[in-house]
Symmetry: C2
Subunit: 556 residues, 2 copies
């Protein structure tokens, strides 16, 4: 058996299908996926159903269930962390399921089993044969960690065993839960969707039964008057309460009642969500709390579907990543996406005429001189931008990284001066050079981004220059190595410039830059809005880089 | 029929089950959910299988399929935007499916159908009866928008019709695809997972067959030398190619080959992902491109599960929201979460002794005077923080909102002066008041957050003061209304202060503040890391607010 992933724990549902996708194993699998659990499923019966009702039921027969389970198709191969049963159809199927589980888990701990005691569909269709209720109680309940009946299921189960079975008040709910606990399951969650109560009822019951825990979700919390004033007075609100009984405690989960017809599959969804919590090691109280919140939001955010009782929205908590995870074949997905999403302007920048003429050795000398003089002025902005980055950093390593870059730029400026001197430009001339508008535009934009945003935006802004010159350096190096290359290396007056940016030292800095922005996108996966912001900054800087080379060509 | 949601389009799979959850309708439903599509499913056959192989197959019989479909359990009730078939088991089932679809869509447009022609499992188990292949070609293909065979399925289909059926080279793949197209489907995606090719093969074929499109994903793009250098030379890479044939074009989707045993359910996943794209109106080229990328990442990010060929990771692109969507019963989920996640310190701030003594009228006069003098100094920081917010804003409405707050603070300062005068403090004394460390801590922290972060963090920082005083005002107002209240209103020297913060004017500002931070959290849903940052800023400010009242009580 494979241990599976702790990030995506494996869970199991043993239940019926719902062709319309709102209930049964379909709802379970959707709920598992929405909780990032790995879902497996054993189908007990097939139903043709939709939001208006159940049209047909087709039992798979206990032999097939037993075969699936006893052949250990699932259990033998996958380490299940928690599981549930839903519609079990008849006594033979229940016996097959329980028998197989008991055999498989002989001598090892059985993962927690949640039993959703599905008996009758909302539309009145029998989903469990009447004689099977007794078998469920006597055989399934003793191996059940949590049983999750609604009012009618609880009443049916209690009356089967001759226990008081009327559940019309909160007090009767509490008594019914205690009686259910005597039938064998370790814990009982009695769902109160049918009962409308108020805070006064909760207060009365809490007063009369000390030790009762009340978990308030969505409304009713202390010190949230500012929200309650906007949202209306919670004391008047009609609320729903679910009651969890364990051997040692009773907890009421209360939340606002919502009027909705999107309730098809609520019970399946709730029990499946509890399974997900249990599979991650949550205790039953926490798993129940999170599952009730998830289910409640599923109803409230449901989209219209079907003509009858529509399904919940199982996907309300999910968002889709704007930037994929890094993988072995694509270890730098964010950088790749930035370049892909600005491919046209990136190409205009990297394969600029300035670059091509420089590589051919045909670039007019005055253009290059104009460029390196303005580059000197640009580097001052660039160093200041890293100063801003240091000031905005949260950790010493970040402060040091920004500061190291400033030191590198300062050193580069000295090299730059030497380089300029070779081209006949003295330091006095460099200092006296008037700043071109393209230089101001780019430099001031960097500092504006640095003022306006956080470190992530500023990091995107400085990346375009670093990565772009790296790309130019590698492109020219690769082109130079082709047979019959157009790149001129021998006697090219600009060869040192090409060698510098294609060389190991500069490329080392490029790698660090790439790793930095990748780490940033993984640590704080951007929302679509935030990715757009980052992309826009990157694109603007790419455009300004291109403008810088336009300036050099035009001597502007 | 209900139109359903455009945000969550409804899709359908007609296929077999896989108890182990990696293939069949389980893989389809997981893929649908991962693409935020609403999944429905018609089960043709049940299989007991796992990552090591297929242990048993149980046909549901064509009567049940026809019943499900012809009774229109799904079709009648849900508007399907795109659909797929997977394992169809036998000729009778294929006829039942096609007949029901044709009957239902008589006189209306059938949504695009993707046919994954599942014939034999990877482990060699027959999933389609041999005599059914011919029925699939003659009856299902003509209503198929896209058919997605792999090598062995394509060979079986082609040989059934006496067409050349050997697919060992890229050229043979292209010819096979064209031949498949003659069998009736509108488009053909021939999957090339079995064939290892290199860029040289692609270049050769592209040269020989003009008009061939090549879509490069993951690697091989232009102008990405900086990535290729880090990742290795793509020219040497072993690649996989899928070929899409339409009536008018042929497209090669190429990507790096990955060695993996996590391939159980690859075909199901790919075809399901294409369905999701088609359901949103993507053309077949775009849907295919996105689906191949999704499937490729599913293999690459797979977690170990089972002892044989494990499943793909269907959840690689999903993240779970840190902040729930707003709903009618919880319209301010972000504010609620902020308060809940800092409940203890928030309570210490709101129900501070300073507040209680003030409400009882027992607060020492010198404490209150110390407080209002320091509050005057604090407001100067507060106004400056909004100045920084204006400077960091991206839009005129944001600039105006920040500026309006500055004007409000400036006006409040005038009221504050009058108020101070009533307590015997003149302007000269106000200006000469030395700043307490607690005032400096709080004020300077606001400005530091403003310098370090973007507008969102600064907005969180200024919210704690606005919302906290609002909560205090409402709490005292509510307490004052209780019978036998402890709050003293008659003759309380601090009554005006209470009335101001509980009053309509201040509460109006609180509402705007709440709506602002809620809008921010919805427009740019924070990653867990980002939510923690925001929460930390909010918590710090709450603590500094409490410290401000400690200072007043201690005359520090």
């Amino acid at each position: 058996m494979s241990a599976g992933s702790t990030e995506y724990p494996a869970v199991l549902t043993i239940a019926g299908t719902d062709s319309s996708g709102g209930a049964g194993i379909q709802a379970d699998l959707k709920t598992f996926t929405a909780h990032l659990c790995y879902g497996t499923s054993v189908v007990v019966a097939l139903t043709a159903q939709n939001t208006t009702g159940v049209q047909a039921v087709h039992s798979c027969g206990p032999k097939f269930i037993e075969q699936q389970a006893s052949l250990h198709s699932v259990l033998d191969d996958v380490e299940i962390k928690a599981m549930k049963t839903g519609m079990l159809f008849d006594a033979a199927s229940i016996r097959a399921v329980v028998g197989t589980l008991k055999t498989y888990y002989t001598g090892k701990a059985m993962p927690p089993l949640v039993c959703d005691p599905v008996c009758v569909s909302t539309s009145g269709h029998t989903l469990l044969q009447p004689d099977a209720v007794d078998v469920m109680i006597s055989e399934l309940f003793p191996v059940t960690h949590l049983v999750t009946p609604n009012k009618s299921e609880a009443e049916l189960i209690l009356s089967t065993r001759g226990l008081p079975s009327t559940i019309e008040t909160l007090e009767e709910m509490l008594d019914a839960g205690k009686n259910l606990l005597t039938l064998g399951p370790q814990t009982v969650l009695l769902k109160g969707g049918h009962l409308t109560v108020t805070m006064a009822d909760i207060d009365r019951v809490s007063g009369a039964r000390p030790g009762l825990h009340v978990v308030r979700d969505g409304l009713f919390e202390d010190n949230t008057e500012i929200l309650q004033v906007v949202e209306g007075d919670s004391a008047e609100a009609r609320i729903v309460v679910d009651v969890l009984h364990t051997a040692s405690s009773t907890t009421l989960y209360i939340r606002p009642r919502i009027e909705s017809t999107s309730t098809h599959g609520t019970g399946c969804t709730l029990s499946a969500a509890v399974v997900c919590g249990l599979s991650r090691g949550e205790n039953v109280e926490t798993a129940t709390r999170n599952a009730t919140v998830y289910t409640h939001l599923g109803i409230e955010t449901a989209f219209p579907l079907g003509q009858g009782y529509g399904p919940l929205n199982h996907m309300h908590a999910l968002t889709v990543r704007s930037v994929p995870q890094p993988t072995r074949s694509n270890p730098h997905p964010f950088t790749r996406l930035l370049i892909q999403s600005t491919a046209s302007i990136w190409k205009q920048y990297v394969e600029h005429d300035f670059v091509k003429q420089l590589a051919r050795g045909t670039l007019p000398r005055e253009c290059f001189i104009h460029f390196i003089k303005q580059d000197y002025l640009y580097l001052r902005y660039y160093a200041r931008a890293y100063g801003l980055l240091a000031a905005k950093s949260a950790t010493f390593p970040q402060i040091k990284a920004a500061t190291d870059t400033i030191i590198n730029v300062v050193n580069e400026v000295n090299t730059h001066k030497t380089f300029c001197a070779q081209w006949g430009i003295g330091e006095a001339e460099l200092l006296a050079t008037p700043e071109s508008p393209a230089t101001t535009a780019y430099g001031a934009y960097l500092l504006d981004v640095g003022l306006q945003g956080d470190t992530s935006r500023l990091t995107m802004a400085v990346a375009a220059c670093l990565l772009g010159y790296g790309e130019v350096g590698l492109w020219l190096r690769k082109e130079a190595q082709r047979p019959h290359t157009w790149v001129v290396t021998e006697g090219n007056p600009y060869r040192q410039w090409m060698d510098d940016y294609g060389g190991a030292h500069y490329q080392g800095a490029v790698r660090v830059g790439i790793e930095t922005i990748e780490a940033l996108a993984q640590a704080d996966p951007p929302s679509p809005a935030r990715f757009d912001e980052w992309r826009a900054v990157w694109e603007r800087c790419t455009l300004l880089e291109k403008g810088f080379w336009d300036m050099a060509m035009n001597l502007a």
